[in-house]
Symmetry: C2
Subunit: 195 residues, 2 copies
DNA sequence: TTGACAATAGAACGAACGTTCTATTACCCT
DNA sequence: AGGGTAATAGAACGTTCGTTCTATTGTCAA
């Protein structure tokens, strides 16, 4: 009950607020959040966080989180089969929004149905981010309209001719006759378990 | 050059600012962003966006994006093999941060190495979100320490006994002898192409 | 016990915030 | 051309922001 305020605890309180309200708390709000009675105390701690590089102030003096918001520790690698390296957190904080979406203007999301890319690890129900501005390269996973049908396939070039291959032996390669409209290149796959 | 301001264009301008600065612009800043000369014009448009449900105001009167920040249109399903439904955007906006991370306090991220879960669509290099608070259920993908080794496997219960199975025929099922420490349940998989 | 430093409290202040009002300009439809 | 609505401009206003100052309390070591 008598927890002392530390840089970490303050950071956590702010991160929680940020997650819930999607904005930084005001100093007045932080008076409540930190359970203190004066804004100058808040200022005292905020200055500490800024000095510690946890928060930044932009040119206008507004506070903003230095690292993107979500505050998930990035632990290391699971060697699926090998012993793991560091169990405890070399905590790198990351935001999937920033990580996944490099070109927000030209990207969109699709939900996958069908199993034609199953061997690429893209399963029905997965979400894929499609970048429509990107030029498809050999081997890329693309979304394309071939002869009136929309599909997700590997983009393969063989001697000038374009062939679309599924990542599933049950689907034969497609050689587009007349029209091949590439909607975009798949740049990310997201799957969520337990709804 | 003479683009007209629309609800959409204003939304986009704000979303861009939000992405860059991780906070809402002030009305004064929006004067510049929207290329107008008065805050009342800003107010005019902001009211429109609020009425349209694109922005919300919280109890304190602060603006915040109604939907999480990132602004990617969610188009529909790629029928990998079937014709696609709507090509044009039934735009649903989403943030992967919120979508993926339901329990930030008890989750962490791991990078996958090894191919033991390949048939589950989890490939080397993928990131997985692991929830350490969750009770593993039959069939869940879990990260666990078995006899001193960290692995990612299916969690299977067969008559009281726990068996860990890989999603790869090349790996035999593991029957933990002494210790089975479940580090957590995999709740999401993220893969990014092109670095 | 006392001294030094860290942490908290409280008040005061200017600046910037979002709001609101009135007035003017641009656009479209008939 | 006219008339009506949508969009913009500009100024004024009360509120609240973050900052800063001084004063008080708490904590630990000598």
């Amino acid at each position: 009950m008598k927890e002392k305020r530390t840089v970490e605890s303050v950071e956590k309180v702010i991160a929680d607020f940020l997650r819930k309200n999607r904005r930084m708390p005001t100093y007045s709000e932080m008076v409540d959040l930190l359970d203190v009675r004066s804004k100058s105390v808040v200022n005292f701690w905020i200055s500490k966080l800024v000095a510690a590089g946890i928060l930044h102030k932009d040119s206008k003096g507004f506070l903003k989180p230095a690292r993107p918001s979500l505050l998930l520790p990035m632990v290391g690698e699971v060697a699926a089969g090998f012993p793991s390296p560091a169990e405890e957190e070399l905590r790198d904080i990351m935001s999937f929004d920033e990580y996944l979406i490099t070109q927000p203007d030209s990207s969109f999301i699709l939900k996958v149905s069908g199993d034609s890319m199953i061997d690429e690890g893209i399963k029905p129900g997965d979400l894929v981010i499609v970048n429509r501005g990107k030029e498809p390269k050999n081997g890329d996973v693309i979304v394309a309209e071939v002869d009136g049908e929309w599909t997700m396939k590997y983009f393969k070039k063989k001697g000038g001719a374009v062939i679309l291959e599924a990542a599933n032996p049950r689907y034969p390669p497609v050689k587009p006759r007349s029209e091949l409209r590439v909607a975009g290149v798949v740049t990310a796959v997201i799957r969520k378990y337990h709804q």
